[in-house]
């Protein structure tokens, strides 16, 4: 202890104020987080390779071997047209993953841009976004999609685009809220008084502090989109019949619950796993991003 100079001990004192007020939330145990990453990695792999890695052609029918129980040849059995369930699940990974990815990224980009603008500048952008959000509030997006898809008969990509449009204001609101929370913080005002340009303040000062919540929210949007897209397929809106798609498989194979339940339950489980994994990873990302330097 002897000979410790004042300046080194100074740095040891950790304040309990300011940053300390944000409660540390424990994310899931390490093991589970790793599992989620591995699962998502596998999903991404299948989404990229498509049906290349599927044991069989997902669209090949075998009408003499319909609703077969699991066997060595068909690990998860077959459906009402004798197609291999496992292969169809693998082939369906793409539409289960890519759409939500586009929705999450799209609304992340636009939402952050608009949210930051609205929060920072207020004025017209702000009221536009707020009205947009009010509208979304009045009529929830799934209902809009049901009406749109039911009436217009929207298919996959239009649905994805509509979802981006519907999600943007929600994202923007999150970012706007977080921005408004940051705005009165002295560091923002300090940057202003130092003469830092608005653009720099927005993107280099405020945004990094908004990012954790925005990124975590994006993962939630992803998880939610998995559900919404699957819901629409389930209602028969969005994906043409015969296309391997988890939500559609759930709907198509629901009548098989008594005969070959796996054909229906397997996609259900995959939908839950994908959404859950993304949520967990989102939580993890939030925590990592919220860390404020070395402690």
């Amino acid at each position: 202890m002897s000979g410790v100079s004042a300046s080194t001990t100074m740095s040891e004192a950790v304040s309990t104020r300011g940053t300390g007020r944000r409660r540390r939330r424990r994310a899931a145990p390490q093991f589970i987080i790793v599992c989620c990453f591995v699962f998502i990695a596998v999903v991404v792999l299948f989404a990229v390779t498509g049906s290349l890695l599927a044991p069989q052609d997902p669209s090949v029918q075998n009408l003499s071997n319909i609703t077969a129980a699991p066997s060595a040849e068909h690990l998860l059995g077959t459906d009402a047209l004798g197609r291999d369930t496992l292969s169809r699940l693998i082939a369906g990974t793409g539409s289960a993953f890519v759409g939500p990815l586009v929705i999450a990224l799209g609304s992340f980009l636009i939402g952050n841009l608009l949210g930051l603008l609205a929060g920072y500048r207020g004025g017209r952008v702000d009221s536009l976004i707020m009205r947009w959000i009010d509208l979304m509030w009045a009529i929830p997006s799934l209902l809009i999609l049901v009406v749109v898809a039911g009436v217009v008969g929207a298919s996959y990509w239009p649905t994805v685009l509509i979802l981006v449009v519907l999600t943007v204001p929600l994202d923007a609101r999150v970012v706007r809220g977080a921005t408004l929370e940051q705005m009165p913080r002295p560091y923002v005002e300090a940057a202003k008084t130092v003469g830092v340009s608005d653009r720099r303040i927005m993107w280099l000062h405020i945004w990094p502090n908004v990012a954790p919540i925005s990124v975590a929210n994006t993962f939630l949007v992803f998880a939610g989109s998995v559900g919404i897209l699957a819901s629409l397929s389930f209602l028969g809106l969005g994906v043409p019949p015969g296309k391997p798609d988890w939500g559609l498989m759930l709907a198509e194979n629901q009548p098989l619950l008594f005969v070959q339940p796996l054909a229906c339950l397997a996609p259900a489980v995959l939908i839950i796993l994908t959404a859950t994994s993304m949520t967990v990873i989102g939580d993890w990302a939030y925590e990592r991003l919220s860390e404020e330097g070395p402690r």
Partner: protein, 614 residues
């Protein structure tokens, strides 16, 4: 350690031995306080004094079994002769409120926001009382009267409808409802204005004496402790370093830390040449374990100081110190105190020079929806090289004024000129003029913990400021290092994130950032009020030095007259949006003209009993 036992003549109501509190931090156990021993006699008032992180509050909470979840206490706490350490929450129910009560620090958060005052007090009344509604109500009104609230309608108000002082009075009434034998007041006035502080403290003292109740007052302010309490426990980094009667400690502290703490406290009655600051900041207990906790910051520290944990030793009857070298350094310390008390030969010219950098003329400002203007015809001048103080309580408009000058608020009427540029309408300033104004005036904010972007390193923040003001600077890194050095920080600080710096260091960084623009006037908005006194002294000295060396003008905004006395040449006293009085600092403080100034001065803490007696 049977330290304090002997000092207490009559039967003690509270006796604590070997108290140790640890915090579970992840998988690590961190010490919060250790080896605490203390004794409180019936009817006695005792103060725990120390800076933030000294463990005084935690000690009080462990006495009441109210430690937060993450903290664990071991040791022995005897209350009225009974060991209360292992009590269950149910058993505590009979002890708390009845044997020991507590007043919390922040009256804004310690009262249930959705209950009316009558309920808050009523539910705290003894449970067994077979009072009917009317009688209970009467009792509540009586209790309110006891804490000085004579308006019975207050009982029907919600806490948020009351001022801070009123809330604290309601809190005291609630804490006293079961007539506890011992009252713990945990910094009961830190969240309040100075004028309110005196009222609350004198109320507590009066009630304590009237009821012959024991009192533990937790405070960071030695003057408050001396004025209120019989004895003082000085705490530092989780340990008690000195125990003494108030008057004796005031006369001669017997521990270098107590001595330094007293010295860094700015006096109101005179202006010192320089405040004595303690270098560095309060360490974590575990970092200074195994030796004298103050050794790293102590001028008199020798090898023997860190050879082992020093115990409290009775130096004189009733006087205990943990300094192992006290016998050797006692005289030294006395000399140091004398030296510090030196008054400067003369104070710089007070008159406002004609070429004011900041010229505020009859500025008014009313916030949207507010009925009372935040600023009401305020005129203020600040010139280069002078330090102008603005003193006022919360709500006086002093911060609004500062923000208006720097362009963070729009004014309703009047004019503000900075460096000759009319900045009444900031938004409409041409870019060139804005830059000119920016480089004339800069600001240091109150809260050092949030005025730096938590996501950016110190170096990044400073470099950005450098590039903003000197776009062609080639050696940004060198410039950053130079800036850090000018505020007394090592160049290596640039790599750190704000979260790893202490409050004082962050405030130095904030000042460094403000200095990038080479401003002619620096506005300091309560820039030292969030800091511990020892650190406050450092920053005040730094500002002093900058003023002298760089001929920097300072507009110093504070609620603390003593601080103003030390730093300001001229002072404006503000109350409710108006400047009620202005003039040279010494003149205002010594011969105040306005009744409000008189009231402020009366309220400023003094280390004597008279301060609290009306």
């Amino acid at each position: 350690m049977n330290a304090a036992a002997a000092t207490v003549p009559s039967a003690s109501i509270l006796s604590v031995t070997d108290l140790r509190v640890t915090r579970l931090d992840g998988d690590d156990l961190a010490t919060v306080v250790s080896d605490i021993a203390l004794e409180v006699a019936r009817g006695e008032s005792v103060a725990f004094v120390g800076e933030s992180g000294s463990g005084k509050s935690v000690t009080a909470k462990s006495i009441m079994g109210l430690l937060p979840r993450a903290l664990t206490a071991e040791g022995r706490v005897r209350l009225n002769g009974r060991d209360v350490m292992g009590l269950s929450e149910r058993e505590w129910g009979g002890v708390r409120g009845r044997e020991v009560g507590m007043i919390m620090q922040d009256p804004f958060t310690s009262l249930n926001p959705i209950q009316r005052c009558a309920r808050i007090i009523g539910e705290s009344l003894p449970r067994d009382a077979t009072l009917d509604r009317a009688a209970r109500r009467e009792e509540v009104v009586r209790r309110l009267a006891e804490v000085g609230i004579t308006d019975p309608s207050v009982a029907d108000r919600y806490p948020f409808q009351l001022s801070g002082g009123m809330r604290q009075r309601v809190g005291i009434a609630a804490a006293l409802a079961r007539d506890p034998d011992l009252l713990i007041a945990d910094e009961p006035t830190t969240a309040l204005d100075v004028t309110t502080q005196r009222g609350i403290l004198s109320l507590i003292k009066r009630i304590q004496q009237a009821r012959n109740m024991s009192l533990i007052l937790i405070t960071h302010d030695l003057r408050v402790a001396f004025a209120t309490c019989d004895r003082v426990y000085v705490m530092y980094a989780g340990s008690v370093v000195e125990v003494a009667r108030s008057d004796e400690l005031d006369r001669e502290p017997l521990h270098p830390y107590s001595s330094a703490l007293l010295l860094s406290e700015p006096p109101l009655d005179q202006r010192l040449r320089e405040l004595v600051a303690i270098p560095g900041s309060v360490p974590a207990p575990d970092d200074v374990a195994g030796g004298c906790v103050f050794a790293p910051r102590c001028d008199w520290a020798r090898e023997e100081c860190t050879a082992g944990t020093p115990a409290l030793r009775e130096i004189e009857p009733g006087r205990w110190s943990a300094c192992v070298r006290i016998a050797e350094v006692r005289a030294d310390m006395a000399r140091a105190r004398d030296a510090a008390a030196q008054v400067p030969d003369q104070i710089e010219g007070p008159a406002a020079p004609p070429d004011a950098v900041i010229r505020v003329e009859v500025v008014s400002k009313t916030f949207a929806g507010a009925r009372i203007p935040a600023l009401n015809g305020v005129s203020v001048d600040v010139a280069e090289g002078e330090c102008v103080g603005i003193v006022g309580e919360s709500g006086s408009g002093k911060t609004t004024l500062a923000r208006a000058i720097i362009g963070l608020e729009h004014i309703s009427s009047g004019s503000i000129h900075v460096a000759g540029v009319d900045v009444s309408a900031w938004a409409k300033l041409p870019a060139g003029a804005a830059r000119q104004v920016r480089s004339a005036v800069q600001m240091v904010f109150q809260d050092p913990y949030s005025s730096l972007n938590p996501k950016r390193s110190i170096g990044w923040t400073l470099a950005e400021a450098v590039r903003t003001h000197a776009p062609r600077t080639t050696d940004v890194k060198g410039e950053v290092a130079r800036l850090l050095e000018s505020v007394g920080l090592p160049a290596a600080t640039a790599r750190k994130r704000p979260s790893s710096l202490s409050g004082g260091m962050r405030q130095r960084v904030a000042i460094a950032r403000a200095l990038v623009a080479r401003p002619r006037v620096l506005i300091c908005d309560e820039s030292v009020s969030a800091l511990d006194v020892s650190v406050q002294a450092q920053i005040l000295n730094l500002l002093h030095r900058l003023k002298r060396e760089q001929h920097l003008g300072v507009l110093f905004i504070t609620h603390d007259l003593a601080v103003v006395r030390q730093i300001a040449d001229r002072v404006y006293v503000m109350n409710r949006g108006r400047v009620v009085e202005s003039g040279p600092t010494d003149q205002i403080i010594e011969t105040p003209a306005d009744p409000y100034t008189v009231q402020l001065l009366k309220a400023a803490p003094r280390a004597t009993n008279e301060w609290l007696s009306d």
